[in-house]
Amino acid sequence: MAELYDRYSGMVYAVALRVLSDTGAAEDVLQEVFMQLWRNPGLFDAARGNLAPWLAVIARNRAIDMLRKRRPETDIEDVVVSVQPDLAADADRGIVMTKVRSVLSGMGTSQRMALEMAYFEGLSHSEIAAKTGEALGTIKTRIRTGLLALRKAFEK
């Protein structure tokens, strides 16, 4: 467990801190995510993906739950993550990070904003629409095409 922590805690903490902007709360998320994994190692289905993206998604979801002060909505057991690149090695994660950032900066500002509001703030598309004054459908499409653009960048 210590080994897993040393390898992935930076990533989990970074996601939680980005969402929560509060080091104490981010530490709580970090603690909770690893405790969950420890209590029930069967939660993570190793056959269906690697641990890093799974932890990233769980950490983001928990941080959003905490931010919005709501009870965890999704059952952690149902979270299955499928991702192309192997994110186990630190070096790989560095490459992925650079690539993701370049995809994000290549997007139009409004699309990146929509994606980041949905992802890092946990805002619903109607909340985003209210903030930006754009049509609901447009927001939906922007979020979807934004995520697909990320996937496409790694399919090459």
Partner: protein
């Protein structure tokens, strides 16, 4: 199809956990039925993971690691074996031993039952064969188209006598003889069916018992063979393909 596309639009919001409750429950219902959409949600979560990796920041503080390790030490992943076993900890062992004994008992019972069943089946098969034989005998004895022949010895007493009941359509033949003298050593009696046309056909060999009684039941004969007469000769024990003269008994159909 359009419904499917509408759901596809919502999948990314679902993966992000920002779908309104109503739409969410509708989509979850669809996800239970649609493997394609489930895979897409998994892939979208993968995309979300990539997005998470765009973040960077300070490392978590050292105290966070210590805090986690302390918490883990307090809460072992798997229940440890109690240092002192209370008496009831042995209950599962007793139960297991009991189950094993019970299983052994059932296994023995089952083997015995299988043996009994096999012997019953054997007996039943014998009884079926006997019944079939009895039915054939009764059918021939009671058949209206049966040909009844009485064979008598040319010389008197004691009068050897043979009776034949023959149903040609079923190739069923019953031959009953009485007062038959014992044939010479290494010899037997042989019954012959003498057809309307052609050579006599062997219809079974027999030896009388101590009382001179003998019986031939259903010898192998072709179906539908019209019989002109029946005859008995004395033959070597291996039997003959043609009758050896003289004819000991003979009779023609009534």
């Amino acid at each position: 199809m359009s419904e499917h596309q509408q759901f596809a639009e919502d999948l990314s919001l679902y993966a992000l956990g920002t779908l309104e409750p109503e739409e969410r429950s509708l989509l979850e219902k669809h996800l239970r039925e649609c493997a394609g959409c489930r895979r897409e949600v998994e892939a979208l979560r993968g995309d979300m993971a990539l997005l998470a990796l765009s973040t960077s920041g300070p490392k978590p503080p050292v105290r966070a690691r210590q805090r986690l390790m302390d918490a883990l030490a307090r809460e072992p992943r798997q229940a440890r074996v109690a240092r002192q076993r209370p008496w009831w900890a042995l209950v599962p062992a007793f139960v297991a031993a009991g189950m094993a004994a019970l299983a052994m008992f059932f296994w023995v019972q089952s083997t015995k039952l299988q043996r009994d069943l096999a012997s019953l089946e054997k007996r039943s098969a014998q009884q079926r064969a006997e019944l079939q034989r009895a039915r054939e005998i009764v059918a021939t004895l009671t058949a209206t188209d049966a040909m009844t022949v009485t064979l008598v010895a040319a010389k008197t007493p004691p009068q050897p006598q043979g009776k034949i009941m023959y149903v040609k359509d079923r190739a069923s033949l019953i031959f009953l003889a009485s007062n038959m003298p014992m044939p010479p050593p290494q010899k037997v009696y042989e019954l012959w069916l003498i057809p309307m046309k052609g050579a006599p056909m062997a219809a079974g060999m027999f030896k009388p018992d101590a009382h001179g009684s003998a019986m031939v039941i259903n010898p192998p004969l072709p179906v539908g063979m019209e019989a002109k007469a029946f005859a008995v000769t004395i033959e070597p024990e291996a039997g003959s393909s043609t009758p050896t003269m003289p004819i000991v008994m003979m009779g023609a159909g009534a």
